[in-house]
Symmetry: C2
Subunit: 227 residues, 2 copies
Amino acid sequence: MADRPRRRIPEATVSRLPVYLRLLNELADAETHHVSSEQLAELGGVNAAKVRKDLSYLGTYGVRGVGYEVRYLVYQIERELGLNHDWPVVIVGAGNLGQALSGYGGFGQKGFPVAGVVDVDPSKIGSVIGGVRVRHIDELPQIVASRSVAIGVVAVPATGAQDAADRLVKAGVTSILNFAPAVIAVPRGINVRKVDLALELQILSYHEQSRSTTLRAVPGSGKSASA
Amino acid sequence: MADRPRRRIPEATVSRLPVYLRLLNELADAETHHVSSEQLAELGGVNAAKVRKDLSYLGTYGVRGVGYEVRYLVYQIERELGLNHDWPVVIVGAGNLGQALSGYGGFGQKGFPVAGVVDVDPSKIGSVIGGVRVRHIDELPQIVASRSVAIGVVAVPATGAQDAADRLVKAGVTSILNFAPAVIAVPRGINVRKVDLALELQILSYHEQSRSTTLRAVPGSGKSASA
DNA sequence: CATTGTGAAGCGTTTCACAGCC
DNA sequence: GGCTGTGAAACGCTTCACAATG
């Protein structure tokens, strides 16, 4: 109540807060009441100083000599991340991925209920996936407006990604989670994050590649024994 | 052939090379033969100087006054990322996600054929998904050894993620793509990347949250008009 | 006295600005 | 003339190290 955390939180910290939150929730489930930055760092696989600096952006919630109170910290992180209320999402694309996401369920449990699923393909309209009826993409504006949807999920093939993003933005969505293997252009002020399987695999490929180049500079034989 | 690109490529650059590669392949499909850093930057939504610096780590492949030759650059990036040969992957977890990943198909087309899918659950063993028979997780070492698998995919619930990672590492895998919403600990030298839906949504939630805090410090009404 | 919160140093990444080159 | 390649500056993030403190 005392100090308003009116500081700007660095992007790198924002992307770690959900990790801490998850760990803290696990600790809370295990009836652990206090945790030190050292312990959290161990669990999260990061540096303890980083944990402290990250948490310090939220406010002064630790106690010297003691650590952090788990439940209180959970509360503060949730508040800071805006997780103290639901964020309905709309999914564009009712293909394999859209269906999987909608049917997943864990979505709604985590505070991101599926407000709607839309598709361009008439043959998909009307089918029910994950308890939600698939509607035509032209209904996007109504869905977004009526349920105050701020977050849209792009789950269409790469070729349709930009169109999906354009429609989401036009409908009033201001954050987009893009699963399509494509770069999407959006107006300033719109947040985009991507989840890109091929990209991640290619990054791992690079590391494997450089591993073999480093360990043995012998081309040809791709065999490598275990260390 | 002339200059060996024996420089260490910064991690930030590595994670952008797959993006450039995709854009370049699209350009190649469109019969575009040359591209400037400016154009690539435009397509990728990044700064042109960044594109040039990124590409310069690969070698001196541009031509001043002209730009980069698309197909040649594709070749060089693929070589650098180790995409000039296949990287078979093994998927741990034959649940919804494991099935979706295995059945996806785009996996193999992109140079990451599914060498095997394993699960602990006996009831899942033997079923065929994406043309691959699900085997018991104890067969992991044989699968990894016989197919020289370097990359493992963790597609199990959070509670089983660490065990899955441990087994993959023990079997000889040196890179892991983790889809489970959990931090996994691995020995030094093992590469881990994560794909975390909840985390991404929570990051977007933060930005939406701070948007509403910034624009109108009025709590209660969550209505916001379009710009 | 264990542990936080944080200046300051260190390090990696981004961007600028322009020399170099085709 | 146009565009690359790259030093150097600017920036942000990470880590150190330690004073502050319950």
